[in-house]
Subunit: 482 residues, 2 copies
């Protein structure tokens, strides 16, 4: 009897986790569709209205401002709890603190719609934190549904196990990275981890990732199940052992950069809060601050103006794919396709180096500023982009300095700047979030594991440096909110 | 003052972990050298002495028998604690049970030399468990050394943290898989895991993996830092979504197979123990049982005899690389190099299918039998080989059944049997050890992450089935020893 009872309960857990994964995949897919419709509409408008630069500017700027204003208003009306990332809040909930109205259906609706609008606006914001929040709400609602049928699930420890699995699903669905997602959510949300719950997260995340990729195959005519930012590095000679020192240096700089990112973010938020007169003024005119920032950021990224210096014409996905691309931008003998990529990162005034510096600095500053807009938004993707830009910069510099590779004898093989971009992205996001598992996420994102040693070295160095100087961005936000 | 004190201690931890990683890498490298000298000597002898089959047979058989007898005798004299895997014992030690003389220098010497001799003999045994044990001893000795200089390290909880990190280093050094090694050791050895210790394992494992690969570059003229069993699957179209069902089926069969492996292993050990008369006889003639088994296994794998049906001429590394190879064995239009691979898996009497079945069954039965020889030995690699053989069998079958791939429309792309071998290897080893992290290990081993979804699905199904039917092989050994 005991045996059958155990099996029956296990079966229900499975069903629950599978459902959670599938629902998250569907949600993620629909949101991605919505976001890409918004982004594409803007770029289409900009490309079609070539009659007059001013018309182009208006069309370029108006959509983001409208979307951000809509998102801010909608979220404010429906559920103000859905503002921000969600990971810091889930961290406190998993520690046993009850947050009011944080896991309700209303919040879910506000978060899903608000996030779609925010990301559609093209602000330098991400979706990973909100996805963790959304998955947790779905898990909570599902488990309430199950409880209303039968009393088995009314169990607090089981509930928190399910929430932990939900965090994993959220990250996994966001990056199509089931393994990395599980590890990331473990690192970010828990301090002591029960290994017997390991499979829950994996199972739900794999269900989610499978369904998500199947949806992509069925509806988007994608060829097959594949990685998000598929890279194409040679597996024969990915890097020379001597380059490992440079990778460690990237880790060091990213560690310092990540710590200063967290510090600047906290100073900025506290400064905005301490300024009481401005605060009062902004609270009366709720839409002024979001509208102004959206206008500012989209004006700066306007491709005919300053946007040409920072890849303003590209979507986040294109930016990352191009930063990871496997050819040297600064070479002369590029193919037509390769040259088409480089035109986005080069102007008549600046070389790729100048553009990469501007791109990195712009993302650094404005992702911090944009994160204070009261809409649902994550920090991971912007941070990831900063790291990728910086890594690419170092890689291009290395390629120029050592045009024939760094070996002193034997077969020559050139530097791969794309690999540096991957290492930089992992190191910077690892140092801001204080996680090692970004390494695994980046392997799953790029579909390649050739750079496992450089990535791990850089991530560990960056983590060590950042941990000495500052708390993680999530802990920093918890500190601010306290 | 507190600040400086903290930094100082942290620095020491780093030094300790780095030292641990480097020592393990050196040990691992030297042992690999020794093992490959033994294996190569045997194959050279066999290939040179073509004058008479009988002379070949004698030379083929004598070396393993001598090595196993030497290993059994040496281990018995120096430290009988070094017999067997080591993971079950580390599991009990990390639970707080003191095992006498288990982490001494004597045991280290016995384990290192015994393991080298055992693996050099070409028995179907692995090195992963013993490596965990060796790393733990090194950590223990190192921490004693440090304690004799200063009193900081005399702290039981710190000691067990270091042992946990050592387990990670052991697995990582063995497979050149730092990330997977850390996760595997967490899954296998602990029940509750403190996330703040996460970086320890990673740091030590990465130090180890880096040094190990650098040694390979410096001393073996390897081109660069690369994966152990580098595969070469196309990233463009790794598999069709419909094939996921077949992968899940592989997971199901591997789950059943893994559970029966654990069951047969336990029955066999208990049977050998219960037979008291034979036991007494064997204890008097200590060398009879190891010698007889070594003779039996090496006779069966003699390439001119039955060995031709089971890839007897190949080393473990060659076997796995060939099983993972990215072309269809059963096709007619093979290149010369490809045909050279297939000749090892095909005789005038049997096709590749027959050989794969025989290979899988042989490894299944004789890895269990060989694991009862009183020498240091692991179970992971044999289990991995069983899964790879079975997966390749399914893959070749699929390739014959669907010669043009399984798609019903659009671009045709053939089945990749090597991918099935990878999935099978992960699923079978996952089901025997009850771990999900073999998936990560296999990504790092093959240097490719294209099959992340199939591997995860198969591993999860296999784990679920195996967990319902049997304990893991390590828990089973603990049960037997109790």
């Amino acid at each position: 009897w005991i045996w059958r009872h155990t099996v029956a309960r296990l079966g229900e857990d499975w069903v629950f986790l599978a459902l959670l994964g599938i629902i998250m995949a569907l949600l993620s897919f629909i949101m991605d569709k919505g976001i890409s419709i918004c982004t594409n509409a803007r770029i289409w408008l900009y490309r079609d209205l070539t009659s007059h630069p001013f018309v182009q500017y208006i069309s370029w700027v108006s959509l983001p401002v409208c979307l951000i204003l809509f998102s801010a208003g909608f979220v404010h009306l429906i559920a103000p709890q859905s503002i921000g990332s969600g990971i810091p809040e889930m961290k406190t909930i998993l520690r046993g603190v009850q947050l009011k109205e944080y896991l309700t259906f209303k919040t879910l609706v506000a978060k899903v719609i608000g996030l779609t609008a925010t990301l559609g606006s093209g602000m330098p914001l991400g979706k990973e934190g909100p996805f963790v929040h959304i998955a947790s709400i779905v898990a909570q609602l599902l488990s309430k549904l199950v409880t209303s049928f039968q009393g088995i699930y009314e169990n607090e420890s089981r509930n928190s196990e399910m929430l932990a699995a939900a965090c994993a699903v959220g990250v996994g669905a966001c990056f199509a990275a089931p393994v990395g997602g599980v590890l990331f959510s473990i690192e970010v949300t828990t301090t002591y981890f029960a290994v017997r719950n390991y499979w829950r997260g994996f199972f739900a995340a794999v269900c989610g990732a499978t369904v998500f990729r199947l949806l992509a195959v069925w509806f988007q005519n994608a060829d097959t199940v594949r990685a998000l930012f598929l890279t194409n590095f040679t597996t024969e000679f990915p890097f020379d052992p001597q380059e490992l020192f440079v990778f460690a240096l990237i880790g060091l700089v990213c560690g310092l950069g990540g710590a200063s990112y967290v510090w600047v973010h906290r100073r900025y938020v506290l400064f905005m809060r301490s300024n009481k007169r401005m605060n009062k003024f902004l609270q009366k005119n709720r839409f002024l601050y979001p509208g102004f920032l959206a206008l500012l950021v989209s004006s700066i990224s306007f491709p005919l103006g300053t946007g040409q210096f920072l890849g303003g014409e590209l979507s986040t996905h294109e930016q990352v794919t191009q930063l990871f691309s496997n050819f040297t931008w600064s070479r002369d003998d590029l193919t037509v396709e390769q040259a088409a990529v480089v035109t986005h990162w080069m102007t008549s005034y600046t070389s790729v180096f100048g553009n990469l510096v501007i791109y990195t600095l712009f993302t650094f500053i404005f992702s911090i500023v944009a994160s204070t807009i009261p809409v649902p938004s994550g920090m991971f993707i912007p941070v990831f982009k900063i790291g990728a830009g910086f890594g690419r910069l170092v890689g291009e510099f290395m390629a120029v300095t050592f045009p024939h590779g760094v070996r002193y004898g034997g077969r020559l093989s050139p530097i791969m700047p794309g690999g540096y971009a991957v290492v930089g992205a992992a190191a910077f996001s690892g140092s801001v979030t204080h996680t090692v598992s970004v390494a695994v996420i980046i392997f799953e994102m790029t579909g390649q594991i050739t750079h496992v040693v450089p990535v791990m070295i850089a991530v560990l160095v960056a983590n060590a440096v950042a941990a000495l100087l500052q708390p993680s961005i999530y802990d920093s936000i918890i500190l601010i909110k306290k």
